[in-house]
């Protein structure tokens, strides 16, 4: 709080003090009071005002300056009510009271939303779990009654399964709670799981999937990594180049402090101007608008999951030639336990 602001705020008070002093002096003069008496009275009046004003300034300035400092220093501004000390003047006490009341009400409100969102998330998890049952059942039916039409059903079923996973992982990635389990995972096994899961659809598009140097372990959550790779595969399938036989190459390289997983396809690539935005929510870009419809959620969720697991993901692409994603797994002994 600036001192000039304080004075400006009390200007009316000073005007009335000045007026009062003027009137008193006028009366004293009219009653022919002694000149010395007039001077002493005026001096006492002025000194008293200066003293009380100084006292007021000190009290308020310390309180408000303290408040402002703490507010500036706070990362979460709403914690200010917990941080302020109750001052000894009424106005300040009143403000603190209001802080506390509004804060309490806000906390209750947030708790209600948090409960709602947790319930919603539980429902989503349960729903995904339930929808997998009819999907499983249909997959088995297609298999037990092989025919051309069932091949087509199968492709659509795999799409449904993929979309349900997107819902599940979106809800997981947006949630603040830690529901992943980081441990040593074999890249070979993870890639093999996801390849086998997408076998029908990869073969349908005649894609050859090659792997190189995957005999390495990384620290991550296996299920989340499977989902991430699944999203990359489904993108590769969406953006196959009609000019050549589609190929996907998944390889890994190990360094002293990190392991890099590389995922490369020879699809239509990403235009250079779109590259900085592909991990953004709802971004579809040129590829998403032409041909295959895209929601712009897949890579956003991928990026989100990566950053929650502490992995870095980046992309490198040349339009019309290839797209390559790199996921960097840091090596951290902290997570290791036997």
């Amino acid at each position: 709080m600036k001192i000039t602001e304080f004075f400006k705020d009390r200007i009316f008070l000073y005007i009335s003090y000045a007026a009062a002093l003027g009137i008193i002096l006028l009366f004293m003069n009219a009653f022919h009071a002694d000149a010395q008496l007039i001077i002493i009275s005026a001096a006492i009046f002025i000194i008293m005002i200066i003293v009380t004003e100084a006292w007021e300034i000190i009290r308020k300035k310390t309180f408000y300056d303290d408040l402002k400092n703490k507010l500036d220093g706070l990362d979460r501004k709403y914690l200010i009510s917990e941080m302020t000390e109750i001052p000894d003047f009424a106005e300040g006490k009143f403000i603190c009271e209001i802080f506390r009341e509004t804060n309490k009400s806000m906390c209750e409100n947030i708790a209600a939303y948090r409960r709602n969102s947790a319930e919603f998330r539980e429902f989503i998890e349960m729903w995904v779990h339930e929808i997998k049952l009819p999907v499983s059942s249909l997959l088995l039916m297609c298999h037990n009654n092989r025919s051309e039409i069932n091949e087509k059903f199968l492709e659509q079923l795999i799409r449904i399964d993929g979309y349900t996973d997107t819902v599940l992982y979106y809800s997981r990635s947006e949630n603040a709670e830690k529901d992943y389990l980081i441990k040593e995972i074999s890249l070979q096994r993870t890639v093999s799981n996801i390849a086998v899961k997408n076998r029908e659809i990869l073969l349908l598009h005649n894609i050859s999937l090659q792997t190189e140097g995957l005999e390495k372990n990384v620290l991550t959550d296996g299920k989340w990594l499977e989902f991430i790779l699944g999203q990359l595969i489904s993108n590769s399938i969406k953006f196959i180049s009609p000019l050549r036989e589609p190929e996907i190459l998944i390889s890994a390289e190990e360094f002293s402090d990190k392991t890099i997983l590389k995922y490369r396809d020879n699809g239509i690539g990403i235009p250079e101007s779109d590259i900085p935005y592909i991990f953004e929510k709802s971004f579809t870009g040129e590829n998403g608008r032409n041909g295959t419809r895209s929601t712009g959620m897949g890579l956003y969720i991928v990026k989100n999951l990566c950053s929650r697991l502490g992995h870095k993901i980046s992309v490198n692409s040349q339009k019309g030639r290839f797209t390559e994603f790199e996921i960097i797994f840091e090596k951290n002994d902290f997570y290791k336990f036997d």
Partner: protein, 220 residues
């Protein structure tokens, strides 16, 4: 004939699984009433159990523990929750393998035959018409010569040999290859089979692999 017992509470999945297993040449039975499941499973004396981790009223993991206390029979756990903890738990309770819903039916069959093979310790056929097979070396050895097969060719040859005289579909060959981390496409499978044919006829086994149009291949 191996008998497989299914503990799965979703009626539709259960019926399709029974169909799938019967088509694949197994005797299959399923739990329909979930009172005292462990007892019922044990009294059926199956060769392998397919156990859902989420059964009504009683947890699949508890059933597994109870069965394990009494009989030693291979168990494959089926999970539908997408979390790593379930898998770790089912293995720690002594399941031989696990598979997550919704699963690829051919992969399920492959896992079943792998687990059964492991538990019966049935050594796969090691010779073919005087050719000795050395899988570690990836070679077919006859008295005169030694033919080196690639990993893919070996996987294909072994599957055909395991089921000598029967039709093996392209899909089954593909499944075996994919389950061994060879994610090849249709063209590559055709190429691998024709190379294998050439190598076999070099070893004096002309026309060993016969093509059955729209069905698959037979090793004679």
């Amino acid at each position: 004939m191996n008998k497989i017992y299914i503990a799965e509470d979703d009626r539709s999945i259960r019926e399709e699984l029974l169909q799938l297993l019967k088509n694949a040449g197994y005797a299959a039975e399923a739990l329909t009433d979930f009172q005292d499941p462990a007892e019922k499973i044990i009294s059926a004396a199956p060769d392998l159990i397919l156990l859902d981790i989420n059964l009504p009223e009683i947890n699949g993991e508890l059933i597994l523990k109870e069965i394990r206390r009494k009989i030693d029979v291979p168990v494959i756990m089926v999970t539908s929750r997408n979390s790593a903890t379930d898998e770790a738990l089912s293995l720690s309770y002594g399941a031989d393998d696990y598979i997550t819903k919704p699963y690829d039916p051919t992969i399920l069959l492959l896992r079943i035959s792998a687990v059964l093979k492991r538990s019966s310790n049935k050594a796969s056929n090691r010779t073919y018409n005087g050719l000795r097979i050395n899988p570690a070396k990836g070679a077919l050895i006859s008295e005169k010569s030694e033919i080196i097969l690639t990993k893919n060719e070996m996987i294909i040859f072994q599957l055909l040999l395991d089921r000598q005289g029967e039709i093996v579909t392209r899909d089954e060959l593909m499944t075996a290859l994919w389950d061994n981390n060879e994610f090849i496409n249709d063209n590559a499978l055709t190429v691998n089979i024709s190379r294998l044919r050439v190598k076999l006829s070099d070893a004096g086994q002309e026309n060993a692999i016969e093509t059955r149009k729209k069905q698959g291949y037979i090793l004679k």
